[in-house]
Amino acid sequence: MNRRANQMLTCREMVELVTDYLEGRLDDSGRERFEAHVAECAACTLYIEQMRMTIAALGHIPPETISPEAERELLDAFRDWRPTR
């Protein structure tokens, strides 16, 4: 790679930096270069937006629950466990 350090990042590099960026792990110069690319590239802006939407959507998936029967069994197990103490 004969690319100068301050040359514009490519989209291919951008997609590998998204998580570092979102997690606040890019240093100042890295963040500036990242944002400079975003300012110029609608496709990467959309890509990053889709990553954010993905993360948000994952956070909205409702939790799993155990069945009432399984919970009853666990409470029985707890009562069995207690007297031995």
């Binding site: 998204v18 959309l46 155990i66 103490r85």
Partner: protein, 231 residues
């Protein structure tokens, strides 16, 4: 649901909160059933989610979660509080789920091949979607992402959620664990590193791979169907 939100909020704070754990532990060790119910309510849903990502069915997941709770009870006296209670319980569950998942043969040969590739790295996006060296702008998009149709509505749809969960289950195990804890359960990076014994960097690499794959699965699911024409 409300409790999960509260747990998420808590996870944003740096480090585990020792005090509520200590009080709960004290009551559990005395055999206080209400304390055990609290524990089941608070940690039951996340344990089921974590375990279901590793085993093929809900009934097996319930067995594994049951075994986990028994191990938690039997280990209570030895728990020293060096990690949070939640982290400790998660580690027990993961060990059991990994063992059981392997025994149930959930990992298919194809997944195994892919895992070898992905666990070591691999690109976030198919390299063919970028311009080659002879392109007008090498390394820039050749097939850029298309806007998703009605993302607000679609992303909340049961069908889309199933697609996301399927995509996570197809990930190599460590990626699957990291994204489950970070994005489904809302844990912070430090707690995930602690529970999975990962460095911060390693955790982030695994999270990146995992999120990129889920986005890509969503893309297949949500992109306007007339793909050839839009690219």
């Amino acid at each position: 649901m409300r409790e999960q939100e509260a747990a998420r909020g808590e996870a944003q704070e740096p480090g585990p909160a020792p005090d509520p754990d200590a009080a709960l532990l004290e009551r559990l060790r005395r055999g206080d059933e209400a304390a055990f119910r609290t524990l089941l309510d608070e940690y039951g849903p996340f344990l089921m989610r974590l375990v279901m990502m590793h085993v093929p069915s809900r009934s097996i997941a319930e067995e594994v979660v049951g075994d986990t709770w028994l191990a938690v009870l039997n280990g209570l006296d030895r728990f020293e509080g060096r990690s949070s209670l939640r982290t400790w319980i998660a580690s027990i569950a993961l060990n059991k789920a990994r063992t059981r998942g392997t025994r149930e043969g959930r990992i298919l040969p194809f997944a195994l091949l892919r895992r070898r590739y992905e666990e070591g790295g691999g690109p976030a996006v198919d390299p063919d979607r970028f311009q080659g060296r002879r392109g007008e702008r090498p390394g820039w998009w050749a097939s850029p992402p298309a806007a998703w149709e009605e993302p607000e509505r679609q992303l909340e749809a049961a069908e889309t959620r199933d697609a996301m969960l399927r995509a996570i289950r197809d990930l190599p195990p460590r990626q699957r664990e990291v994204i489950t804890m970070r994005d489904l359960l809302g844990w912070d990076a430090a707690e995930v590193c602690n529970a999975l014994d990962l460095t911060e960097t390693n955790q982030r690499v695994l999270l990146h791979r995992a999120r990129s794959k889920v986005r890509s699965a969503l893309e297949e699911h949500l992109e306007p169907k007339d793909e050839e024409a839009s690219r």
